[in-house]
Symmetry: C2
Subunit: 243 residues, 2 copies
DNA sequence: CACCTCTTTTGACCTGCATCAAGGCAGAGC
DNA sequence: GCTCTGCCTTGATGCAGGTCAAAAGAGGTG
């Protein structure tokens, strides 16, 4: 775990804490200062574990840069990723001392952190922060439920297409063709999709051979026609973003 | 859709709205009256659709008696149940006019309802209701993520054992052997578990032949040893309740 | 460059669950 | 009671994706 230079935060932490700007549209001036005084930043390298499943988690916060994964593990070692956190996503759970999932940095990662007890006090004192957090939690719940459809009913090819399309849309810079760097290894993708690494690899190859995507090195991906990829994913063309 | 006699509500609606007692532990006396004045009750028969996916949903509320299902459907008809609502569970989404999922009465069902706009006003005026709702939403999110592990990684037998164990524990009256009435048809179970109806049936038969459960008619189920069933489910013995 | 390690791809084979197709059984209505 | 209808179970077969094994890249290091 390395130190993050807080002076970088002004630009990087656009939407923090919990989508700072959105929240603070209704903040008084000194509320912003109080929030700012409570923040700290911490960084991790790709692959580092932030908390283990069940371990105490004395902070909450949000992703500033990079990408983190939430994973549940069965006793025999089977693993399922249950969330993929991107910048501005919330980490941790007010009102609960232990992490329900393992949290791992998928890429190099910086979090904006609050001590949990201080954050809980803020929730009580500042209702609009609680309202914003409720809204975000309900969005997360919808995303989790959408992903249940992916896990329960989609074929391997549809699953991979769904994930790639989501990543492409999030990273979207409206270039043509659409490009993105995959924040996940093949193994992490398999863990997310309820597949094995071999199946993920085969399906990616299949999509490449069908001309739906192009690979640029190990992590780079390009997509000439997102709507074609979405059809392959079994979604209607304007299917919603899934976490 | 039939009318529910509000006079029955006093007993039945122990935890409504949004676990009324829990909320109202910190309510003033007249807050309770105001909440009560906003409520209404409505009942549905087993199998009736309450709202279709994407249709306008002008109310929110909570389950008083019975059991409802939340389901997402793909264009080609594949369906995945994404939530199973039991008494005291919350229905609907403040801040959103349309239902994200189809809601169906799995059994005969009574809901305690609030007009959505009135409820949203209450959320703004009564912060502890919002806090309670946040807490409930985070619990739902954990449950949804736990179910992702079931869908993504468990075998058919483990899935069925997981569902049956959850139902038995919810209905638990601490009798021995544990008994419950299944609120779901085989088809609904299949939709929940990401399986087909035939596979569900075969796995139930398998669990019965292994002596882990006994069937009592079509809907009745008994379990002589819950911890044995939980081991079959791939959980540790005190695995948590899953929605 | 050679060497090592880690990730990804590819191949061959197998199995768990889906699919297709009959039956069986319980409750409702006559 | 009989029959109809809607669930549920059972059987036979096929295939998608898992498993096991090996090879091919892609970095990193001396």
């Amino acid at each position: 775990m390395s130190q993050f230079d807080p002076s970088l935060a002004t630009e990087a932490c656009i939407q923090c804490p919990i989508r700072h700007r959105a929240v603070c549209a209704s903040c008084e001036g000194d509320e912003i200062d109080r929030l700012a005084a409570m923040k700290s930043y911490r960084s991790w390298h790709a692959g580092e574990t932030i908390v283990m499943e069940g371990a105490p988690l004395p902070f909450v916060g949000s992703v500033v840069t990079g990408c983190a994964t939430l994973t549940r593990t069965m006793e025999d070692g089977r693993m399922q990723m249950v969330g993929l956190l991107m910048p501005s996503d919330f980490v941790g759970r007010p009102g609960r001392a232990a992490a329900a999932y393992e949290v791992v940095a998928a890429t190099d990662l910086t979090l904006c952190l609050f001590k949990r007890d201080a954050f809980e006090r803020m929730l009580r004192d500042t209702p609009h922060v609680g309202q914003r957090l409720l809204e975000m939690s309900l969005d997360e719940l919808d995303a989790a439920r959408d992903w249940m459809l992916v896990l329960g009913r989609k074929t391997a090819r549809e699953k991979v297409a769904t994930l790639l399309a989501n990543i492409l849309r999030r990273a979207s810079t409206d270039t043509h063709p659409l490009r993105a760097e995959l924040p996940l290894t093949r193994e992490a993708m398999a863990t997310y999709l309820g597949l094995t690494i071999e199946t993920v690899s085969r399906q990616i190859t299949g999509l490449r051979k069908a001309g739906l995507i192009a690979l640029e090195g190990r992590r780079g991906i390009a997509c000439p026609d997102l709507s074609a990829l979405l059809i392959e994913a079994g979604d209607d063309e304007d299917g919603r973003l899934i976490d």
